[in-house]
């Protein structure tokens, strides 16, 4: 009620000034353009986050120095940090990082592409899908990490084994996600495409493929991590180089700080991989 103008002439005056300058003059200004840093949380959240880290490391350090747990078994944050600094600066760890990252990248790219293609083919061919569905279900349900010994037997200790392992863990995620993405397409969009006279190829390029993209990216974010998992697992079983092998090596020597150090590097790699996929996704899926 308070916004009701008091006099007729006042309203009129406002209207005139509004139209004179394009209609927006009477409005208060729009909000300042927002920035992305909000995404990462505000200052308090940041501070609390660091607080959690400090707290965990502090408890860890404290419990070892007070003798609650044996530092031989859990190491200490300080030792882990020292290990990380020395192995990163001496460069000892780099060949292993390189071996793991290369194998993971190959596995991720090959496995994901193959998975996307398979998922799309299954989606556009209901017959093939009906035939293969039970086998896919079985293959997907099988704990595929158990294939590792077989791959080692077939492909030896070199890069091929771990790449194959990485492919087998990433591939099915993309098959299932791509397929699910296509299945979830709004039937109204299909009707519209049909009625507008789209042929099969156009149906694919204009509807099926773009509609599946969000589900494909959800799959890619997972398969980065799972490819890394497959590769590291193969390396742990047997290989000439790689962070998985390094893990086994340090564990064998009871160098727990080494194990934790490598684990931290692996987590950072996984996070970095997911972040890259996420960034690409944000660029491509701006329409969401």
């Amino acid at each position: 009620m308070s916004t009701v103008p008091k006099t007729y002439s006042e309203t009129k005056g406002n209207e005139e000034s509004a139209t004179a300058s394009g209609g927006d003059a009477a409005l208060p200004p729009p909000p300042a353009p927002s920035r992305n840093w909000r995404l990462y949380g505000n200052l308090t959240t940041q501070a609390l986050r660091i607080g959690v880290l400090v707290l965990v490391c502090g408890l860890w350090q404290l419990s070892t120095s007070l003798g609650w747990v044996d530092p031989f078994l859990v190491s200490t944050p300080w030792d882990v940090a020292r290990f990380l600094v020395s192995s990163l600066s001496s460069g000892d760890i780099w060949p292993h990082v390189q071996a793991t990252v290369t194998a993971t990248l190959i596995a991720f790219v090959v496995g994901s592409l193959a998975g996307i293609v398979t998922g799309l083919v299954l989606s556009v061919s209901p017959r093939l899908n009906a035939v293969l569905d039970p086998y896919l279900t079985i293959a997907n349900a099988m704990p595929r990490v158990a294939l590792a010994p077989l791959f080692l037997l077939w492909f030896g200790l070199g890069q091929t084994s771990k790449v194959m392992m990485g492919i087998s863990t990433g591939y099915f995620i993309l098959v299932l996600n791509t397929h699910a993405g296509v299945k979830a397409i709004d039937p109204d969009l299909k009707t519209i495409c049909h009625v507008m006279g789209a042929n099969r190829l156009q149906m694919f390029t204009k509807l099926i493929l773009p509609a599946a993209v969000p589900a494909i990216f959800a799959g890619l974010r997972l398969s980065v991590v799972y490819s890394l998992l497959g590769v590291v697992l193969a390396e742990m079983l047997a290989s000439q180089a790689g962070m998985g092998q390094l893990l086994q090596y340090y564990a064998g020597l009871f160098q727990v700080q080494g194990v934790f150090g490598v684990l931290i590097c692996l987590s950072l790699l996984a996070v970095a991989g997911t972040a890259v996929v996420g960034a690409v996704e944000n660029r491509i899926l701006r329409w969401q």
Binding site: T191, I192, V195, G197, Q202, K206, L207, A211, R286
Partner: protein, 261 residues
């Protein structure tokens, strides 16, 4: 501009298989109907009486169990580019801007970029969305999306416009604006139009002729020419004597079914 053609439905009876059994549900029962070229036909009837099914038959998406459906002289056995379809939900492609959505049909026909852009610009102007050409559907209101769908519908200069409750998801005011807008565009093009609706007022105010269906299996119960003069002013026509008469009569037809149900 394509010369308009009519629609002819001859003795259509249709069954749908009941899911998970060998039985069939009759959905349409001996429907015969002929719409002149350029006629605006409205179909009303209780839910489930087969209106959408009939529309799908005209679009060539569903084949009748018995009987024939013609678009012009041609049997409607498959979808055709002369047919435009508008649904209750806008069904826009979320990864396409408003403009690209309007261009879709032309793109499918391989029309050159400039022609597509010109057509889209003209129709977005006509539907009052010029400033939103570059917006994605997720950034448009419900009503704006439906207007993009309207622009897309007319971008192909169709011979037939089929609409399945296109205004049902809109609020009363937006609805009236859209109905008027549609009639205005339709009056310019005079395509053969079939509107399925639950809204009796909408049918009478917009169409040349209203066909009332019985409950499932749908039969034609009443078929009325609406002789209200065009161009029509939907807002004032509501208070017209003739409108009230027709509305009353149709209401009685539909009411009988409700009473019996």
């Amino acid at each position: 501009m394509n010369p308009p053609s009519g629609i002819r439905i001859e003795g259509v009876t249709h069954y749908f298989a009941k899911p998970g059994s060998k039985e069939y549900t009759p959905v349409l029962s001996d429907v015969s109907l002929e719409a002149r070229a350029g006629q605006f036909l409205a179909l009303v009837g209780p839910s489930g009486c087969g209106k959408t099914t009939l529309l799908n038959m005209i679009a060539g998406l569903v084949q009748p169990t018995h009987g024939k459906v013609y678009r012009g002289e041609e049997l409607a056995t498959r979808p055709d580019r002369d047919v435009a379809y508008m649904l209750a939900r806008a069904a826009l492609f979320p990864w396409r801007t408003a403009q690209k959505n309007v261009e879709l049909g032309l793109e499918l026909r391989g029309a050159p970029r400039q022609e597509r852009a010109d057509t889209a610009a003209r129709l977005l102007e006509l539907t009052g969305l010029k400033d939103f050409a570059k917006s994605y559907p997720s950034h448009l209101s419900q009503g704006m999306r439906q207007r993009v769908a309207l622009a897309r519908t007319f971008a192909l200069k169709p011979k037939f416009v089929l609409m399945d409750e296109p205004f049902s998801a809109l609020d009363a005011q937006t609805k009236l604006a859209h109905q008027e807008e549609f009639v205005r565009i339709w009056e310019q093009t005079r395509t053969t139009a079939v509107l399925v609706t639950h809204d009796l007022a909408e049918a009478i105010l917009m169409a040349d002729r209203v066909v009332v269906f019985s409950p499932r299996p749908g039969r034609i119960k009443a078929d009325l020419e609406i002789q209200l003069p065009r161009p029509r002013d939907l807002e004032t026509l509501r208070f017209d004597e003739r409108y009230r008469d027709i509305h009353e009569r149709m209401w009685m037809e539909l009411k009988q079914d409700v009473d019996h149900a």
